[in-house]
């Protein structure tokens, strides 16, 4: 696969790099992990296979070998040689085919994957680009891992899955300094709208809204933060840490946004409005396990259809 026109902020991402936070190497990984997992299920890949995470304006690609590929996540009006593609469905590409993305319809991040995966460099058991080190870095020539025998008759079933973009509610579990918010701040956090500011990136989403304050200002000692952590900045504004969260931070923390809603949030762009909904830790776990079950079911259904075919 060759990149004919460069896009912005394209990286390879898998589910992240685990085990090295104590030497300061963050987890990283895909912003919208649900879309990445779905992509690999649709392609029949390993759950943790790396995909290209791209943003609009997108790169233009030309395939240099035949392969089976799919796209998930955002809707950027994807076209293969002028034919409109749908998300969550497998397609066959021949050498010389062009993959372009015409306009931004919905969402912020799109995932492109190939059956068998990309042949890219792994570092510390992950293929995700560590953005602090810009390593493993991204080149314009992308080699596929497995280009022998592409079955052109691979069944082309789609999977119905989409984030609910109309629902701006972001569910979080209160923790850490949440109880130390003053009463007005608690009420404002739960009942007012927050705007995703333009200073938002893979590291974190800065929000702008009514400034929140703790009952008593506390001198914090640095401790672990991770994807989903809600931090309270000195000016009273919030930041939700995203995939490239640092391993530690020294701001007060109010809790964490649940996994599913981090995936959804990562498809919201700057100037989007969100609202917070408080849920319990137990409820968050239920949602996580239900989502896992749902994905297992999709996987089983696809395998079953494949056998039938």
């Amino acid at each position: 696969m060759e990149i004919l026109k460069k896009g912005v902020l394209s990286t390879f991402q898998d589910l992240g790099r685990f085990g090295y936070q104590s030497v300061g190497v963050n987890i990283g990984g895909a912003m919208d992990t649900l879309s990445l997992k779905l992509l690999n299920i649709v392609l029949g890949n390993y759950e943790n296979e790396a995909a290209l995470e791209i943003h609009f304006p997108c790169p233009h690609f030309q395939f240099e070998e035949s392969c089976i590929f799919a796209i998930t996540g955002a809707d950027f009006n994807a076209n293969l040689n002028g034919k409109l593609l749908r998300n969550n469905k497998i397609y066959h590409a021949e050498s010389g085919d062009n993959l372009v993305f015409r306009f931004k319809n919905k969402g912020e991040r799109l995932y492109i994957g190939v059956k068998g995966g990309f042949n890219i460099r792994e570092w510390l058991s992950s293929k995700s680009t560590n953005t602090q080190l810009n390593f493993p870095s991204f080149s314009e020539k992308i080699v596929l891992k497995n280009n022998d025998e592409v079955d052109k008759h691979e069944p082309n079933y789609g999977v119905a899955f989409a984030h609910d973009y109309s629902n701006r509610c972001i569910r979080f579990v209160p923790s850490f300094e949440f109880d130390e918010l003053d009463e007005d701040s608690k009420s404002n956090l739960l009942n007012s709208e927050f705007l995703i500011s333009k200073d938002s990136n893979r590291m974190g989403y800065r929000l702008s809204g009514v400034p929140l304050t703790l009952v008593e200002n506390k001198e914090m000692i640095s401790s672990s933060v991770t994807k989903g952590t809600i931090q309270l900045l000195p000016d009273g504004q919030l930041i939700i840490l995203m995939a490239d969260a640092q391993v530690s931070g020294g701001y007060p923390k109010l809790g964490f946004v649940i996994e599913n809603d981090i995936s959804k949030l990562s498809q919201f762009g700057s100037q989007s409005k969100i609202e917070f909904k408080k849920i319990s830790y137990e409820n968050a776990i239920e949602i996580m396990l239900e989502t896992q079950k749902y994905f297992d079911l999709i996987q089983k259904t696809l395998k079953f259809r494949e056998k039938e075919n």
């Binding site: 300061g24 602090q132 080190l133 000692i221 401790s223 933060v225 991770t226 996994e259 968050a284 896992q292």
Partner: protein, 217 residues
């Protein structure tokens, strides 16, 4: 002592245990003991243990929930039964490392003025202490060092620099540390080291628990 611990849920798959103590060598040693006790468990769902100044975070795989319902319940129970002072850390395992520093940072004069200490004395104070690596964070290989002379306290910059160069030695409040790579940063820069602190293969030059001394060059 167990009563002094606070458990806070960090995410669906992580929990942080706080010691509720001032930062210092005592809390650092306790953190190291907790890490050792956790590491000795061989839980199949344990992904990683991340020590900080006075807390330890435990990251787990979602398969934890195949056999348990709650990280809070599980670890409250576990911490109530374990006594991690039994295996207090043996200091002789820690490596002693010397880091050469050219004391010529952009904030050296500011720090000297703020602390009311002449530059040569400041260098002497900063390079005569033996520091302990309490945690690594912020950037790959960035050491947070304990043991700075309290007279060198300087608050962080109110507005962080957009680029602090690789190798910069800085002071942020009561702590001192080294930037292993170019990065935005708010610490007061008093010197630079030519020493590499992070390598893609060897990873961090310093590890938690290491003893560090700065050598003026």
């Amino acid at each position: 002592m167990q009563n002094a611990l606070t458990l806070s849920i960090l995410s669906e798959k992580a929990i942080t245990v706080f010691l509720n103590k001032e930062i210092g060598l005592a809390s650092h040693y306790e953190v190291i003991s907790i890490r050792k006790s956790l590491e000795a468990q061989n839980w199949p769902w344990l992904i990683e243990i991340v020590p900080s100044y006075n807390s330890v975070s435990i990251f787990v795989d979602s398969c934890f929930y195949n056999s348990h319902n709650s990280l809070i319940v599980f670890f409250e129970d576990w911490f109530s039964k374990i006594s991690f002072f039994e295996n207090s850390p043996s200091l002789d395992h820690n490596l002693f490392k010397e880091i050469p520093v050219k004391y010529e940072g952009g904030d050296l004069l500011y720090v000297s003025n703020y602390c009311q200490i002449p530059v040569n004395e400041l260098i002497q104070l900063h390079s005569s202490s033996t520091y302990t690596v309490a945690m690594i964070g912020f950037l790959p290989g960035f050491p947070y060092l304990l043991g700075m002379d309290a007279r060198l306290f300087v608050p962080r910059k109110s507005s962080p620099r957009l680029k602090v160069t690789k190798g910069s030695v800085g002071i942020g409040g009561f702590q001192t540390g080294i930037y292993p790579s170019d990065s935005p940063g708010g610490w007061q820069i008093i010197g630079t080291t030519p020493h590499e602190l992070f390598d893609l293969e060897q990873l961090s030059y310093l590890s938690i628990g290491d003893k560090v001394k700065f050598k003026p060059i």
